[in-house]
Symmetry: D3
Subunit: 282 residues, 6 copies
Amino acid sequence: MIEPLPDTLVAPVVRAALAEDLGRAGDITAQACVPPDARLNVVFATRKAGVVSGLDCARLAMAELDPQARFEAMVVDGEQVQAGTALARVEGNARAILSAERTALNLMGRLSGIATLTREYVDAVAGTRARIVDTRKTTPGLRALEKYAVRCGGGVNHRFGLDDAILIKDNHIAACGGSVAEAVRRAKAQAGHLTKVEVEIDGLGQLDAALEHRPDVVMLDNFSLDDMREAVRRVDGRAVLEASGGVNLQTVRAIAETGVDVISVGALTHSVGVLDIGLDAV
Amino acid sequence: MIEPLPDTLVAPVVRAALAEDLGRAGDITAQACVPPDARLNVVFATRKAGVVSGLDCARLAMAELDPQARFEAMVVDGEQVQAGTALARVEGNARAILSAERTALNLMGRLSGIATLTREYVDAVAGTRARIVDTRKTTPGLRALEKYAVRCGGGVNHRFGLDDAILIKDNHIAACGGSVAEAVRRAKAQAGHLTKVEVEIDGLGQLDAALEHRPDVVMLDNFSLDDMREAVRRVDGRAVLEASGGVNLQTVRAIAETGVDVISVGALTHSVGVLDIGLDAV
Amino acid sequence: MIEPLPDTLVAPVVRAALAEDLGRAGDITAQACVPPDARLNVVFATRKAGVVSGLDCARLAMAELDPQARFEAMVVDGEQVQAGTALARVEGNARAILSAERTALNLMGRLSGIATLTREYVDAVAGTRARIVDTRKTTPGLRALEKYAVRCGGGVNHRFGLDDAILIKDNHIAACGGSVAEAVRRAKAQAGHLTKVEVEIDGLGQLDAALEHRPDVVMLDNFSLDDMREAVRRVDGRAVLEASGGVNLQTVRAIAETGVDVISVGALTHSVGVLDIGLDAV
Amino acid sequence: MIEPLPDTLVAPVVRAALAEDLGRAGDITAQACVPPDARLNVVFATRKAGVVSGLDCARLAMAELDPQARFEAMVVDGEQVQAGTALARVEGNARAILSAERTALNLMGRLSGIATLTREYVDAVAGTRARIVDTRKTTPGLRALEKYAVRCGGGVNHRFGLDDAILIKDNHIAACGGSVAEAVRRAKAQAGHLTKVEVEIDGLGQLDAALEHRPDVVMLDNFSLDDMREAVRRVDGRAVLEASGGVNLQTVRAIAETGVDVISVGALTHSVGVLDIGLDAV
Amino acid sequence: MIEPLPDTLVAPVVRAALAEDLGRAGDITAQACVPPDARLNVVFATRKAGVVSGLDCARLAMAELDPQARFEAMVVDGEQVQAGTALARVEGNARAILSAERTALNLMGRLSGIATLTREYVDAVAGTRARIVDTRKTTPGLRALEKYAVRCGGGVNHRFGLDDAILIKDNHIAACGGSVAEAVRRAKAQAGHLTKVEVEIDGLGQLDAALEHRPDVVMLDNFSLDDMREAVRRVDGRAVLEASGGVNLQTVRAIAETGVDVISVGALTHSVGVLDIGLDAV
Amino acid sequence: MIEPLPDTLVAPVVRAALAEDLGRAGDITAQACVPPDARLNVVFATRKAGVVSGLDCARLAMAELDPQARFEAMVVDGEQVQAGTALARVEGNARAILSAERTALNLMGRLSGIATLTREYVDAVAGTRARIVDTRKTTPGLRALEKYAVRCGGGVNHRFGLDDAILIKDNHIAACGGSVAEAVRRAKAQAGHLTKVEVEIDGLGQLDAALEHRPDVVMLDNFSLDDMREAVRRVDGRAVLEASGGVNLQTVRAIAETGVDVISVGALTHSVGVLDIGLDAV
């Protein structure tokens, strides 16, 4: 089961999204057309098959506008569902539900889209040792939620930001005088005992230097399949190997079969369509 | 030329995105590997062709971490560029540039992706009277920026939130006892003299009732092409007609040729890939 | 009945007002003199006749300091009441009630003052076609609430900000080379299908040019009554006509009788006295 | 000379006011009609005579939208000026100036209105020992600025909130079993050595009890002129005496002549018209 | 009994502390190891003797992560307790309790540390007229809470910030041309009727000048015991006397016995160890 | 050299601290006594020997109140200095400098106190392999800054929050049915490839189980020196060993000599005195 984020982390995002949508005057359509005491009974339902993520966003959006609304989830985040599946039932003030609808759908749709795409990648590498991980190519303001959605899809999270792991790229190496080994050495010297160090290399020629100071992870950037296999052979478990670059649903299986440990996929969060979900009156 | 958003609206988004990425300890890789006084000279360059949007995000991200950095835009937002085009040049503190890189790319890539997709739709309807508009299916927290990106691509904005126009949908009509005419009547009575009223209908059968109280806009939801043509004929300029539902790059031209005024496309913002942009050291 | 604003829009204003009043140490008088468990039973009552607005502010202020307090409204927003009318009853922790009192009164008094003044203008034009509208001359931070108070008084809202309608004034026309027609043309070209366009003119001489590109609204700025009548005659329903400038309770009736559609009154929000309301122990 | 508030306290209010006005899309009129590089040269000028307050608000509003704008104040806060006086000159980007105009005017107009009214009260008591002070009946969110405006008008500030002085009112006395003396005793026992204690009394009968534990200030609430004189005589300098209730420009002189030290006037901030100020192109 | 701060002032501090600890991904240890529905029954217990302060922080931290958690305080703030005392019992969701534990302990431990140290100073001067007061040397962001903790320990609060009392120090005197009397005169002229004025002097030679314009308080900065006694004798009740500088638990009794009214101790908040409190599963 | 935090992370803390101190009316002492144009030339100087940390806080506090102030650091963070050392020179507006003084000193004093204490621990273990690390027992709101101060003192940072590493404690183990091995297994299964896993054990009896699933770090909680040595021998490099509990300046050397890799010291941040720094007029 996927561990939900605490409301403390989700509620501010939901509240900001509602405020953005309500603007200065609130929902003037509901005010004009819907009696203040009208009740509504609705169901969130999928229009397409996919993996659900973000039910808490929908619950919190409804609760923010009608604290007495009854929200009942009928599936759990991380569940694979068919088109037409009822995800949650809401009963409450009609205006509140209609005003919160778009916020709930925007968040749940986006997170479920990410979970669904992640699951496709995870399924594509089933049976290999490779895990599918995300990147920092997330939507500004939604990183915690989007990385949660990746977990809902069966993926694993790369670092959350610039501060929770060291990841040395070409520009950093250049700043160390061009020496991969020196860059890793500095990073290991600086890193705390709970901080991992990863280094990105462009070709097999950098591999030995990269390993010299024992990083935790080596990222193989845009390697050919042959070079990946060779890297797996040479490293032989001394570091975790991450494949990166040129990954898509057509290529990911072959990459996984090279024996790498981790495959990072920016598209999980930077180029994903929403899962089509709607709100139906009962 | 596209009118830029004032920095006052953009800077808080950029600042929040940087804070999210820097976390509690800042960029520990740059701290470990890059000397504090190192300088860097870089160029933002497209890897694919597209329409640019969000140069100000990149400028503000750099300025936030190095107020002395020199940022020089080489194109303008809204410009169509080829793969390999230099978009902007930055010269400044190396750590600052490397730490701001991902924030700049995440925002500019997403906005340019939206602008690029919008342009495809706009080009597809060239020569017709139809304008391409967005929806409220935007990323929470980024609505103002994403709607700006739609303008960069040649699109036009639908309402910005629940409070700046009235848009009556099926649930609102149900709350008025099922009468389209009554819903529009209430809305017109409530609306201020600078607030427009739009009503969504599901079929031609609702058209006369919808027009009875003279809404500004009628949305034709999931109409067949024949029904759209018939609606255009019957309305005869008494209201703006918006086509909605089932719009994609394959269908949009035919829809435009029915004579509708406006075609709204949720996918412009809810299912868009980033434009691939990179940062290259010079 | 006036449609209340959602708590989501009101609560942050109330919370900020309380924080401003409580400062760093809270209510040191209540701490010194009132036993922590003391209860209080109070009534908000008018000292003068007027139109009520802002009951939710009082309710939320009390709830913020004593979530268990029982708040019972005895009238509704928008109601015309006599001096000495009980507006709401509160029973709860004595310290909480005394600490929230000033915040509740400051907000409710101000909003009721606006509603009361608005009602005077609305009554003054009764029987004419003219509607009384507000302006953007509101108190910074309170625009949504003050515009709500105008609605409570029977008024209608002008635009909420710089972004939800286009209003072309003399300086904009000057920036277009002095041509009213050109300014309207540019605005209409830029405006989305849900955005209205209004243009302000200084004299009848600008009227034809103003109408050339079919704005939604023409504002007659400081027109004489004769010129207003002439404008009404010439426009003949092709645009909404708004009278502005020199409006007060002495002049408003005559202005309304010229046949204009809308009369905007800055004084509704920029120069209004509070309605005198007090808190009485029962 | 009036001591200006530090920008650190004023800028957040100005920034929030601008954000409220710019909304999600910014100034769409300026975007449509004013070329992005157009320059403007304007003067803030009074339409009526009054006392100026809030020049810094105007300066900061302009600077927020055009950091390069040149703002030159031509008077200082606290200065009494005639109608038609130029208060400040601004030269900068035309769009920025037009977009910031209303925010600048709303704040400066309101603060100058308060300063002007305060000056009237101060002039009315000239030659007596009485000082004019404000109350906590300020606009939520603007207390620091409105109290500054009172100082600009020659007034003095009462406490800033619930936490910087003790002010015992009837409800507090009731909570102490109805004993004025006991309420003051508790307050003095609790108060720090830099916290003053004031007690409000309703009639001469409470005066001796009120003085028993030596409060710093006694407030005479709605006393007749005779009773005020008698209170002045009896207290004989042992406490500062504050007159409150029923104060207006007709009554304030007579109240001051009773010999009280301080006269508090809620209307200074709760029922004040803006000073009419405009922005004129040069 | 110590008067608790209203939750309105405490909750934002607690919420910010939780957010700082939860970061972007929440408590990943609890997510990995603790079943989502597991319950926990815990007791906050002292490891050392001390004075309790901050129980509300613990309650609010728990409530933020589990609104249904049952929190039962077993002592009250301000109570002196032995090592091993149970302070409060919590029953609720296991993850929530474990995730909130550190935030609760960090705040309650620090506040109790301050209360405990304050009590030592207060006990050291028992029987003298001197009161122990704090300073503005508090932790940024925690001033209201730390000053509350001082009250829990039996101390009294000095001013809360730069704005609620005037305290003239050597640099201010220098800015007045070096004249103590002139500095006090200016301050008294500017001060409102609820604002006290204190002046700091370095030696007896400044005492007469300091008293000339009747400040409320004179601070004797780093006076010898003899000079303090002499100051007490000379002032003879015309002003409150505050001793400052060189105060520690060894010196405070002798200082108090000189007859000063107030002794301020920066160490109460700037150099204090936490009271050791732990969370024990029941 | 210690890598400074980016201003983006430090400025909000400084700004909030200034706002807390300035309150609603600003520095009323400076307003009363210091002419608005007075200049001041000051030096921050140590009163005691120590390790400097937080110069940027002082710089930013001054810049916030006087953007034109010239601030010149004369040492760098992390430098060991004697009593009486000039740390930085400031020249600017006198009021601004006096108003920012306490904020600057509160932050710099606290951070330097932490750095100084850390250095003592680091010096005490010189020549051993042990590194001194902090804990999460930091001041709410200041974690990033306090952990930076630990680095200034030569220490290394433990995790920054609940989300950047897994640390399994007794309560987590209990929630896994009491099995250390099972808890580590679950954690390793859940952890991403850049997330380390640490487990705390109470005695040698848990060591083998703890190692079974290969955690990155094992924390020896309150082990005797003999047991630590035995743990070092048995683990033999298969995991990093962290000693915790009962660490003080008397015991830390002996602990280090057992061969553990890391010694965590809560007192570095939870019980530290400020370094005494003052501001002297030049």
